[in-house]
């Protein structure tokens, strides 16, 4: 009981610690030093319409590389932790009719939408991560509707590894051909606003999309199996 009492006191005190953060710092009135520079010549330098994407993929490319590694580790960790010999779930009641017909209708749409998101990552909002997640949700919908259908294990593996490896190769190409590691200018910037513009950004983002999609499906696949 006293633990609850102590928690209350110290959570309130912590709130007091945060209070000046809210009161002292006025809302932003104009862009900071770095973001102002990004705003001015971000588009000119990298040729990507979506400034956030250019920041995410190129300017702070190492973060995103780290980001992909984090997801990769999580899949590895989950696979590693749940490494019991899992058996396929025995036939349970079949999926409801609505789900099955809905899936057969919706599936292509969702996949198309997912591909659209990460292909147009540098033009419209969204990108590799969001696209990958949408595709993963499509696959999950498929898994739910058709119980005995399971994504083949090693296709996922190959897909994941290759896209990861290519991503790193893209980085090295940037290092050798262009200014620095993960620089997208080793490919032509192309015409602003078009699909084949902003150098390597779309390629990188689609690779990320594929990798994230494969990984999330992998995670859900491992979670989905009951163990003995």
């Amino acid at each position: 009981m006293i633990k609850r009492f102590f928690s209350l006191i110290f959570v309130v005190l912590l709130a007091l610690v945060f209070l000046p953060l809210v009161t002292e710092i006025k809302p932003l009135s104009e862009l900071g030093m770095t973001s102002a520079k990004y705003a001015e010549d971000g588009a000119a330098e990298l040729g990507a319409a979506n400034l956030v994407t250019s920041v995410v993929v190129t300017y702070r490319g190492l973060d995103t590389l780290g980001e992909v590694t984090v997801l990769f580790i999580t899949t590895a960790g989950i696979g590693f932790m749940l490494r019991r010999k899992t058996i396929l779930p025995e036939k349970k009641r079949r999926a409801s009719e609505i789900l099955k017909s809905g899936t057969s209708f919706l599936l292509p749409l969702i996949i198309l939408f997912g591909v659209y998101i990460f292909v147009h990552g540098h033009l419209t909002p969204g990108g590799g991560f969001q696209g990958g997640v949408v595709i993963a949700s499509a696959i999950v919908l498929l898994m739910l509707s058709d119980i005995n259908m399971h994504p083949d294990h090693n296709i996922l593996n190959w897909l994941e590894s290759l896209s990861g490896a290519f991503y790193v190769i893209m980085g090295i190409l940037g290092l050798i051909l262009a200014g620095g590691f993960l620089d997208n200018r080793f490919l032509p910037l192309g015409e602003f606003g078009k699909i084949f513009s902003a150098g390597a950004i779309p390629v990188i983002y689609s690779l990320i999309g594929l990798k994230v999609g494969a990984e999330l499906v992998g995670i859900l696949n491992k979670l989905g199996r009951e163990d003995k």
């Binding site: 953060l21 900071g32 030093m33 300017y59 190492l62 973060d63 960790g77 990861g164 790193v168």
Partner: protein, 1043 residues
Amino acid sequence: MVNPIYIFVIALFSAFLLPVIDKLGRKVTLGVFYLSLTAIFAVTLLWFRAFGEGALIENIFTAGSLPPFSINLRMGTIEAFIMLFVNFGALLGAIYLYGKLLENKVYALMLFLTLIMGVNGLIMTRDIFNIFVFLEITSISLYALIGIKQDARSLGAGFKYIIAGGLASAFLLLGIIYVYRITGNLNLDLIISENPLLLSKGGLIALFLVVVAFLIELKPWPANGWALDVYEAAEPGISAMVASLVAAGMVFVFYKFIPLLPHSWHGMLILFGMLTFVFSNLTGLKQKNARRLLGYSSIAQMGLLMAVLLLVRRFNDAMDIRYALSDIAAALFVNHFLAKAGLFWLSGIINKEKARDWSFNKQPVLVLLFAVFIFALVGLPPFPGFWAKWTLITKLAQYNMIGWIVPIIIGSLLEAAYLLRWFGATIKREQTEQVIIPRYKILPPLLAAIVLVIIFPSFAPYMTGMKTMFFFPLLAAAVLWLLDVMPERMRGMVMILILAAFGWYIYPLAKGIVLIFEFMFIAGGIVISLASLNSARPKQGYWEFLVMLIMSLALIPLAKSSMEFFLAWEFMTVSSWLLILRGKNGEKPALTYIMFSLGAALLILTAFALSFAETGELGLVLLSNLNIYAIPVYILLALGFLVKAAAMGVHIWLPGAYSEAEDEVTPIFAGMMSKISLWGFILLFGYMGNKVLGIFELPVLLGWIGVFTAFFGALMAVFQEDIKYLLAYSSMSQLGYMILSVSLLSHLGWTTALYMSVTHLFFKGMLFLAVAGIVSRIGTTKMYEMGGLIKKMPASFISVLIAIIAVSGVPPLSGFGGKWLLYTALIEKGWYLQAGLSFFAGAIAFLYLFRLIHTIFLGQLKARFREVKEASLWYIVPQFIFVGAIMAISMFPNLILKPIMAAVETQFPSHVNWDGYTVITALGYWNGNAVMMITMGVFMVPLIWLLVRVNMVQKVEQFNIVYAAERPDRPETTHFAYNFFAHYQKAIGFLVKEQITNFWNSVSEWFHSLSATFRHIYTGNGQTYALHIIIYIVVLYSLLGVK
């Protein structure tokens, strides 16, 4: 140069492709895995070599644009140095985990690679959000790797770790975003240059959040329950990585943020670091589980390292920070890194939960490794930890931050306590079952130990500029260790040869008083170690420690700088402690001994630090012109030497240490090692002379302590039943006399001290050798079990007889000279009451000496000793060398008095003059030669008188005595030995009723109970640990006074 980005590329590339390569079979995957780790290590090695040749700091840019607009990495000397060790440790860790990696799925390999990449990233990146990402990569791969050992305990620990790690990264994220919001960019170097922006109210809090997140990752004292569970429950290979690699990364990241911290915060953060160091070590005292104990120790070291990083910032106003930082923090880091990883690997190999179940004293490799790691952690000489502590304390004193020396001393003493207790217990425990050591598991600790031993030269010379002579003890020990294949006696001979050569080498260097001490140590050492050649049984490590002890003893008087003095002093402490540990039940006394000696060593270290603070150099001669710190240095040094001399009050280690050590070693302890404290006093008085504290003069105080030691030492000796305990107390009392006479600060006083120390070496050496001879034949050291040995061991009897006549000071022999000089010096100086008390102590000495010779040699011979033979020649020969020496000194006292008086002349004007053999002082005169002649004459007259009618004397056997016409049946009933001085006990026995021992026991008891109360804050509940973190943040926030 190879772009360090390739470290990430190699790691990620192989990590991504491993699942695919695994299709071709696990051997291939492991090949790729080890290849990539070696490649990473090679890259770091190249960079380190480049910096070795003076390359400048490199900034590596990514994404083709300049830092604030993109993430940049930096590769400097410090980064390269730390990454070198991180990648080296990673390689070793991977080799260690070979077994686990083989049987588990491929994921473990990938997780290990990403862990390494994360740590390297943490060290190199200069972008704060990037630090957050790499921190997450490291933590998440650790969360997963902790899951290797699938049991409830490791999962529970892992979960607590995630909660704490998650909380820390949440605060970090908040802090980062607000730092960005205020400074406008995410690049650390730019933020540091625009620091003032952060000094606004909000800015300080943002900075506070970031720093407190790193503090939590560094496992601060109250809020680190979760870390201990991880160390205890996780797979040892992984805990080794956590303790060394991840800790290195975290500390370096903290180091990167230090320039941002406002100066007002430094004090409080140092305090928290020191608290972690002291309290984790304190809680370590009560630990039973081996790995949890290692956890406490590594947390303590991290706390110290954090405090040092902050302290070092304050040193740098005078010196280039590179120099100040590089030797303290780097040495501490390297020391902790290798030792802790090694110990965790060892715990993996031995795989025993309880620290008590560790026993491998039949496997020399394991013993050696364990010793290397424990000694490195405790900070004993040849290891970097020693240099780090030395430089740290001297620098602290130099920048008069003396307050911080106290926690460091307390902390390191506590750490020494539980680590050395563990070491002693493990070494002494009989090994029951063989520890199977897989080849790949022993390689990493072996390599770590080798590097730990090799690395010290890189720190030692350039820092201290010492003569290489001071490393001879270690060298000689190593040489002897290598000659392990030779038979024991041969190695003994070699050792004596080495000693002789060393003696010849240092002969020209020693002059005056130093020459006398060298004579005592080298000549005494050679003669006494002759006795150790008696048995051919293999003695593991005996000769090495013996040669190390004697040579370090001989080196101390030659030391010119305080550094050399302290190094030789520590070598002596270590080797003597190991010799005691070799004794049959030497574990407990050895622990008491090492604790007192380390305490004394640290007192001396602080004293030298204070003198360094005032004079700026390490020279011992500068002690004379101290004035600000004169009194504290004087007191500290005096205390240190008193502890070494086993003065009254700090003497409880002496009886156990002398009697539990092997019989051949005790004469060296009693005869020579105790004299080093005398040399300390000579050094102290020689340089600093007489100091007054308040109303009474310090030498007078020391004199009184000396007299009381003499009196109580003798009194305690009277009531002992065990010979070695009796002789131990006797040498304590003799040492009391020496302290008394040296603190007289007069020519006669010092002559007495030196004369007594030389003669004490002779007769105490003889006594202990004789005892060793007897015990080797009889087997027991209890006096009442012996009796009547004069008939069986006449040679030993003669040497003991000569010895006790010399010790008690009965005229014809040299002992009287010492007594006469003492009393004349005392009365001349005006210390009358001390003279009276020392006379009384001298008389009491008579009691225990007679008890010694009566209970062993005279009285009734027991049945089972009927066919006992004389002690082996190896014992008798050195004894009779000493007998010869004593007879020579008694016959011609000026043989030794003249050189001593000449030597002391350099310090004090002598007003003693000679007339042939008579020494004439203002008070009285003494003609040793004449006394001897007269006594011989007076002795011959009655002897001739009896010998004339000797034919009528009829020898009778044992029981033919006047026994009221009966025949006593058993010798036990008629041999009066047990509780020989019962009436004395009744009369003044109350004086020696164990008060001092009880006091020290209660001190250690108090520490243990304190440790018990403090460890109860770790309740084991994950939520409570989270609450501890929140409380820690709030308390730190209020204490830092973030306005």
